[in-house]
């Protein structure tokens, strides 16, 4: 066998082995994320003659035409301030650069939009200026094939005064769609809850269509979730208690149902303030639903040491990252308990263990394992090459 064949075989084996140690990838189609901008906000804004008190809205449509869901990070760059005409009435700083970016505020609104370390509205100067800025504005979930309308509202506050007369501001808005990391499987198992209808995993209605006779008035309210006799993460669809369908039926869907999964970004922390909980909602409902989220930290003895509550509205899919930047925990083992409550009476409880290491004690085992995997793969391929070369040498000797 020629060396080139050895090399090809070795490379193929190495790739196959390494790939088997990491994230499996669908064989038929390579995954893609592909962001496309549309709407009035996608064409350059050319807004003139802005005076204090003026405002306007420009809508940009973000479409993920790829095959993978992602999150969109947004930042503003290339900010250019030009001192324009200086009428006699202009006061303050009349030299370059202009001051418009210090006064003009922008706010964005749309589904799944969140900010970190700053709040909206904000002046252009206060927006994140690159993807790795300490401030963030992002759309935390844009599904494959999904579209989100983002409304940008600009406003020049009435109190701006004459300082900005004639000034010109230009800037670039950047959108980066990034593939969402896959959720670990299996997802955390909801613990038992005493309330009926815990909404952990509900099969989409198209698999088990709910049907009611046409004689039922359209306004009849069918409960979205039938109270189950015991706590479970899989509520039974209402169809189980409805009369048998007649020849003509009308399918209906529960209005407020979720699949909920809760994960920790890292379960071994050097600082408790690094704790981040990701709660993912997948809605099979038809209406925006308010969800109460309660985050509780229990220590080793089961004592509650921290509690906080949030509320969010979920329309379709939604990833909610909860950060605990102010959390101070002494080194030790803890349990993060996440309670979700929606539709007034549907609750779930999720528990995840985590630990806070004494400083310097957290060892990066992940990297050690990864390094061992790589070394093992290389050694295996190397061994195969060695055997093949030895055989060839023997053959050539004989």
């Amino acid at each position: 066998m020629k060396p080139v064949w050895f090399l090809s075989l070795a490379a193929a084996l190495g790739l196959a082995l390494f790939s088997s140690l990491s994230v499996p990838v669908a064989a038929e189609e390579p995954p893609t994320v592909d962001l496309v901008l549309g709407g009035t906000g996608a064409v350059p804004w050319a807004i003139g003659n802005v005076v204090p008190g003026d405002s306007g809205i420009s809508t940009v449509t973000l479409s993920n035409i790829g095959s993978q869901a992602g999150m969109v990070t947004i930042w503003i760059s290339n900010i250019s301030n030009t001192e324009g005409a200086n009428p006699e009435s202009e006061t303050g700083n009349t030299a370059e650069p202009g001051e418009l970016s210090a006064y003009l505020t922008l706010t964005a609104s749309g589904a799944n939009l969140s900010t970190v370390n700053f709040s909206l509205p904000a002046t252009i100067d206060d927006f994140p200026h690159n993807a790795s800025d300490t401030k963030h504005i992002y759309i935390n979930y844009l599904p494959a094939g999904g579209t989100i309308d983002l409304d940008w509202e600009w406003r020049l506050p009435p109190a701006t005064g004459n300082d900005v007369q004639g000034d010109i501001l230009s800037f670039t808005i950047n959108y980066m769609l990034e593939e969402l990391p896959p959720l670990p499987t299996p997802t955390p198992t909801p613990t038992a809850t005493p309330r009926p209808g815990g909404g952990g995993g509900y099969n989409p209605p198209e698999e088990t269509p709910i049907q009611i006779p046409t004689s039922t008035p359209a306004s009849t309210v069918i409960p979205a979730v039938t109270p189950a006799p015991t706590s479970t993460s899989t509520p039974s669809p209402a169809s189980t208690s409805t009369p048998a369908p007649t020849a003509t039926t009308t399918p209906i869907s529960p209005e407020q149902l979720f699949d909920i999964t809760v994960t920790l970004d890292d379960s071994v922390l050097e600082e408790s303030s690094d704790l981040t909980v990701r709660t993912r909602f997948e809605s099979f409902g038809t209406v925006p639903t308010w969800v109460d989220l309660t985050f509780i930290v229990l220590d080793e003895s089961g004592q509650e040491v921290y509690r906080t509550q949030d509320g969010i509205t979920v329309e379709t899919e939604f990833n909610y990252w909860k950060e605990f930047s102010g959390l101070k925990l002494v080194p030790g083992y803890y349990v993060m308990v996440v309670n979700t409550l929606y539709n007034d009476n549907v609750s779930d409880e999720f528990r995840q263990d985590f630990s806070v290491q004494a400083k310097g004690s957290a060892f990066p085992w992940y990297y050690v394992v990864a390094a061992l995997e790589v070394i093992g793969a290389a050694a295996l391929v190397f061994f195969i090459i060695f055997i093949m070369m030895r055989r060839r040498n023997r053959r050539s000797r004989t």
Partner: protein
């Protein structure tokens, strides 16, 4: 031995590339560039010159004499429409000599009746000026003490004329000989 080294290097490269490809998340970036916002300007000029104040001299007048009508053209040379206009009157004593019985500026102003006070083709006398000093006519002292705010504005690149004339009342006595005032009118165009 050389072959083994080459093969090993190739393997390391292949594994590195595979690892990078596997661990890197997919991204796609789009930009919306060239967004521009420009602030408008509001630039009031009087008689096509910079400055928002004009002066009217009422000196060396004899009883029954008139100053004016004096027309001041107000131009909004900016790009933004001015929604309202404010006018403020003030005056200072400007006496001649000899001035045996010196009257104050207010006393002199009270003897100067406003004959014309037009803005944009409409008279302001009846609707905006009141007889504050209650002497039976509308005079320059009344102008100072009246509020002339919130008048109609001037659109961008448009003009409006302001016209004023005053007359020294015919019953003015000899005590006012050589007394005079200098009137200043300040215009403020607001967005």
């Amino acid at each position: 031995m050389k072959k083994i080294v080459v093969l090993s290097l190739a393997l390391v490269m292949v594994i590195g590339m595979a690892g990078a490809a596997t661990f890197a998340y997919l991204t796609d970036s789009e930009t919306s560039s060239g967004n521009q916002l420009a602030a408008g300007t509001l630039d009031l000029k009087t008689n096509d010159a910079d400055g928002v104040s004009r002066t009217l001299y009422a000196v060396n007048m004899s009883p029954g004499a008139t100053v004016g009508p004096s027309t001041i053209t107000l131009r909004n040379a900016g790009t933004a429409d001015g929604a309202t206009l404010d006018i403020v009157f003030s005056y200072a004593e400007s006496d001649g000599s000899p001035n045996t019985a010196d009257k104050t500026a207010d006393e002199t102003a009270a003897m100067m009746e406003v004959i014309t006070l037009d803005y944009g083709g409409s008279s302001l006398l009846s609707s905006n000026i009141s007889d504050v000093n209650v002497n039976g006519y509308k005079d320059v002292e009344d102008l100072k003490n009246s509020s002339l705010t919130g008048l109609s504005g001037i659109a961008a690149l448009s003009t409006k004329d302001f016209v004023i004339s005053v007359r020294l009342r015919s019953e003015t006595g000899n005590d006012f000989q050589a007394d005079g005032i200098t009137m200043t009118m300040t215009f403020t165009l607001k967005q």
